[in-house]
């Protein structure tokens, strides 16, 4: 039986891209292709995504694995252009305030902003990592959009009472939806900056963000302009590999 399978699989010529098997030199299968070609999409057509397509993508999220099957997520779908615009403005204003308090480069606070940022970065080293720090400035200046003109946004609220590490579960759930969306010909972009909608009562009230929920992430969804998906180069990571009592390093 095993021999049969091997013989069959080694005939690689007409099995390109097939699922549920591997042989050396095999082309990417459709799942790998979607994973590797998925890129964050930051320019969308105005055309709305059919409701059924969004429902189908939400199903991919519903069946994500979660610690203790706790499913610590709640989805809020926003397809109202005016509402999305208002959310965008709200976040931009908050970025302006943050920029005012923290930007030592061009801000009016100058040296004080530098001291401020040194303290705040230590308190929130992830939120104020150089990349989001730069992005806050770009959003404040209108150079980086929040939803990039996407006609549909899926907001993910996290149930803070989830099992173990619910943030991980929410991430897995979102990526399930993202990959499903790309496999269906849509584009997506994670939008971590929806976090700033938590600052103030307006959107928390409107979106039902109250205990035990916290608004964690957004996923912009729509038809991309151009062909933003494709394989690209990324850094290799050093991997420790233990086998037979010895450690090797692989990349």
């Amino acid at each position: 039986m095993v021999e049969n399978v091997k013989a069959e699989i080694s005939d690689s010529s007409n099995r390109a891209g097939e699922m549920y098997g591997w042989y050396e030199g095999m082309e990417w299968n459709p799942v790998e292709k979607v994973i590797l070609e998925r890129r964050s999409v930051r320019k969308y057509k105005d055309e709305q995504v059919p409701e059924k397509l969004v429902r189908r993508i939400l199903e991919a999220g519903r069946f994500a694995p979660s610690a203790g099957n706790s499913q610590p997520w709640r989805f809020v779908v926003v397809r109202d252009g005016k509402m999305l615009e208002e959310m965008e403005r709200y976040v931009r204003l908050r970025c302006r305030i943050l920029k005012f308090l923290l930007d030592w480069e061009g801000g009016p606070l100058g040296r004080l902003a530098w001291l401020n940022s040194q303290l705040c970065i230590r308190l929130m080293p992830n939120e104020l990592h150089p990349i989001p720090y730069g992005a806050i400035r770009l959003i404040a200046e209108g150079k980086l959009k929040l939803f990039h003109g996407a006609p549909t946004v899926i907001l993910i609220l996290m149930d803070r009472r989830g099992v173990g590490k619910p943030m991980v579960d929410v991430g897995i759930c979102g990526q399930n939806m993202v990959l499903a969306a790309h496999s269906l010909g849509l584009g997506t972009c994670w939008v971590g900056f929806v976090e700033l909608l938590n600052f103030g009562t307006k959107w928390k009230k409107k979106l039902g963000v109250k205990w035990p929920y916290r608004l964690m992430e957004g996923i912009a969804l729509g038809y991309p302009v151009g062909q933003p998906d494709g394989m690209i180069a990324r850094e290799l990571h050093e991997i420790d590999w233990w086998e037979e009592g010895r450690k090797r390093t692989v990349f």
Binding site: E32, R42, R122, P130, K143, M231, I232, L236
Partner: protein, 110 residues
């Protein structure tokens, strides 16, 4: 072996200091680039722009010592002419020093 020293761990880098920060950067192949502007449109770091007239219209990286480039290569993905590529990952040093990384390569199908 890559590791963080105590000094690095407790030092927050100055984000715009080119002496200690290495931001992402891209190289544009001027032969291949036709100035379509797709990369400029989607760059999340707003660090690309078009300059030049007629056939000389090409994508360029903004002239900033520490641009907001995060080496995402989304510009490379949307450029179907293969005219733009990130050179290396970013590294802000000290507390944020990049660890256990090597050069950028495309997916390898082992």
């Amino acid at each position: 072996m890559a590791f963080l020293t105590l000094k690095e761990t407790i030092t927050i880098p100055t984000y715009d200091n080119p002496e200690t920060c290495r931001a992402g950067s891209v190289t544009v192949d001027r032969e291949k680039c036709n100035g379509c502007g797709n990369c400029v449109l989607i760059c999340p770091g707003a660090c690309l722009y078009l300059a030049g007239v007629g056939k000389e219209r090409k994508a360029h990286m903004v002239d900033k010592e520490v641009p907001d480039c995060m080496s995402c290569n989304d510009c490379a993905a949307i450029c179907k002419r293969g005219a733009i590529q990130a050179d290396h990952g970013y590294d802000f040093g000290f507390f944020y020093k990049a660890l256990h990384r090597a050069e950028m390569v495309p997916p390898r199908n082992f």
